[in-house]
């Protein structure tokens, strides 16, 4: 039992628990808090995978921006309304959905355990992450190089997407008068 394994197991249990919390809490604020914790734990996973930049960006964007927005909306809209007050129109869906979910996770795990282990081709010499990290003295720099050279076009497209999203939000958010 090395430190690596212990930390993985602890993290995995915590993440699963909080993720379950997201869908189990009746109050949406509690769900949101649970999701925030899940996201922070995922950031720790990323740290474990030596993706420091992604980890911090995960905190910055997901926990810092997206979930704030969620919390904002949740607290603003019917903060006291609990879901269980309303009658469930299709109660059988819970059982079927849960069962199907179990099948899904079982099938995926089975696949991952028995199927071909992903040993896949390692990145080519020019494309290796470790090499890039050494060359640029850090994964942030390596990430930046990759983003602005190989992925420039998708990156720019994303900026367009964000502008469209902002405009869309503005249109929806305008009061109808």
């Amino acid at each position: 039992m090395t430190f690596d394994i212990v930390s993985f197991i602890v993290l995995a249990v915590a993440t699963t628990a909080t993720a379950l919390g997201v869908i189990a809490f009746k109050n949406a604020v509690h769900s949101a808090l649970s999701l925030i914790l899940t996201l922070l734990f995922l950031a720790l996973f990323y740290l474990q995978l030596q993706a420091m930049f992604i980890a911090v960006v995960q905190i910055l964007i997901y926990a810092g921006a997206i979930m704030v927005l969620f919390l904002f909306v949740v607290t603003m809209l019917a903060p006291d309304q609990n879901e269980s007050d309303l009658k469930d129109a299709i109660p059988w869906q819970r059982i079927v959905g849960g069962l199907l979910g179990l099948v899904l996770v079982a099938a995926l795990s089975y696949e991952l355990f028995t199927g071909a282990q992903i040993t896949g081709p390692k990145a080519a010499a020019g494309n290796s992450l470790t090499q890039a990290v050494t060359a640029y003295h850090g994964d942030t720099q390596a990430f930046g190089m990759a983003l602005f050279h190989g992925f420039l076009f998708p990156f720019e497209v994303t900026s367009l997407l964000i502008i469209v999203a902002i405009l869309g939000a503005l249109v929806f958010g305008r009061r109808a008068n």
Partner: protein, 422 residues
């Protein structure tokens, strides 16, 4: 006895814990004495004396305050969501303390850039230092929003939502203002930023005057200090998200606020004033770097107090408009100027001058606009029937229009104060 310290990993962990503990103690003490200093300074500015009874010069006042707070009754409102209500202030403090982890407080003890020791005065030199600070400080909203929401009080909720909107709005400008520095440095690490300023022989305030100004303004707004202390406005919101808090938990929020203030000051001095460095003075005597750093931070803290004593609170809609329509475009402009200078290998003087010119123009324009707009609701806000409409951003409640006596209607100033009734 200290054999286990031979393992480098263990040694690193132990050193980090010890350094963290020291930092927390220092920060908490600093918080305590900041309150005292603030009260004394503000009192001086207002021609009063301030607390001077407990101990010499009032030095024991913080201790007295702490004792008072600790023994006060902690009221939990019945309509509160208890768990979150209790946890929210803690989130605030923890987040505030976390952000400080990547700030380099002084030079390496060796005095040399390349000789490191695990006991060097910084907790972690990570590759994404600034991003870490931004990420952590973006979590600070939670303490406030959750506290406001969990109090089960409308005033608290409104204050919390205002605060969230304000912090999210100014966070963008804040992050963008830092980008200029990052472009000059080419690294996100705080240590690199300091060494880069040493190498260039300047402080980045010279290359980034516009970024500095934007950062300061956004920073003040980010920590909810006057004149941007809308979230806790006593007059409008009966202290906002703090309404239902009392005793130790109330002081936790205060603690978070002051620690955030210190963090903002520390980042400002690291990024724009060369951090712990002082033109080569610190290379020989590393301990001096701590003193220099504290002095620089103190400078900013004094500025915070000064602002509070001087400026009146800004109106909410103006606050938002200023954030989105002035600060954000300016910070983008700053990025553009800096990007040109960096990409084309121009001297830092170019971006410095460019920033200064923009600042001058903006001051001029804002002064003119301010004069044109006046500081009151103008006629432009009235529709044809003479009804007054507030800007949408402040229309959080419905207003009923009261008919006015004809005599008052002729007098615009009186009308402004009475036409709107909540």
């Amino acid at each position: 006895m200290f054999d286990f310290m031979n393992d480098p990993t263990v040694a690193l962990i132990v050193a980090t814990i010890v350094k963290g503990a020291i930092l927390i103690v220092v920060l908490l003490t600093a918080f305590a004495y900041m309150t005292l200093i603030e009260r004394r300074v503000v009192a001086k500015m207002q021609g009063r004396i301030g607390p001077n009874r407990a101990g010499p010069l009032g030095l024991l006042q913080p201790v007295a305050d702490a004792l008072k707070m600790a023994f006060k009754e902690q009221i939990v409102p019945t309509q509160a969501k208890k768990a979150i209500y209790l946890v929210a202030p803690v989130i605030s403090v923890v987040v505030a303390l976390c952000a400080f982890a990547v700030v380099p407080i002084g030079n390496n003890w060796s005095g040399s850039r390349n000789v490191h020791s695990i006991w060097d005065p910084m907790i972690g030199n990570i590759n994404v230092g600034i991003l870490w600070i931004l990420a952590i400080s973006s979590l600070a909203v939670y303490g406030i929003v959750l506290g406001g929401w969990a109090s089960g009080n409308r005033y608290s909720l409104l204050g919390a939502l205002r605060s969230a909107a304000q912090m999210v709005s100014y966070e963008t400008s804040l992050g963008l203002a830092l980008s200029g520095v990052l472009m000059w440095t080419g690294s996100l690490s705080m240590v690199d930023i300091v060494t880069r300023q040493q190498d260039m022989g300047i402080w980045f305030i010279l290359a980034q005057p516009l970024g500095f100004v934007i950062y300061l303004i956004a920073g003040v707004a980010e920590v909810n200090r006057a004149p941007f202390d809308l979230p806790e406005a006593e007059q409008e919101l009966t202290a906002g998200y703090l309404t239902e808090y009392s005793g130790l938990r109330w002081s936790l929020y205060q603690m978070a606020e002051y620690i955030n203030m210190i963090t903002v000051s520390a980042i400002a001095s690291t990024l724009f004033l060369g951090g712990w460095s002082f033109f080569g003075l610190t290379d020989g005597i590393p301990v001096l770097s701590l003193v220099i750093f504290v002095l620089k931070v103190a400078l900013f803290l004094f500025l915070f107090i000064w602002l509070r004593a001087t400026l009146p609170r800004i109106r909410y809609d103006r606050l938002m408009r200023f954030g989105w329509q002035v600060l954000l475009p300016l910070s983008v402009l700053n990025i553009v100027i800096t990007a040109f200078a960096v990409a084309l290998h121009w001297s830092w003087i170019v971006s410095g001058l460019g920033g200064l010119i923009v600042i001058v123009i903006m001051l001029f324009v804002m002064r003119r606009k301010g004069i044109l707009e006046g500081t009151r609701f103008t006629d432009a806000l009235k529709d044809k029937e003479g009804k007054t409409h507030l800007p949408t951003s402040v229309r959080l409640a419905t207003f009923e229009n009261t008919t006015l006596p004809a005599a008052i209607e002729k007098e615009p100033e009186a009308q402004d104060s009475t036409a709107v009734r909540v």
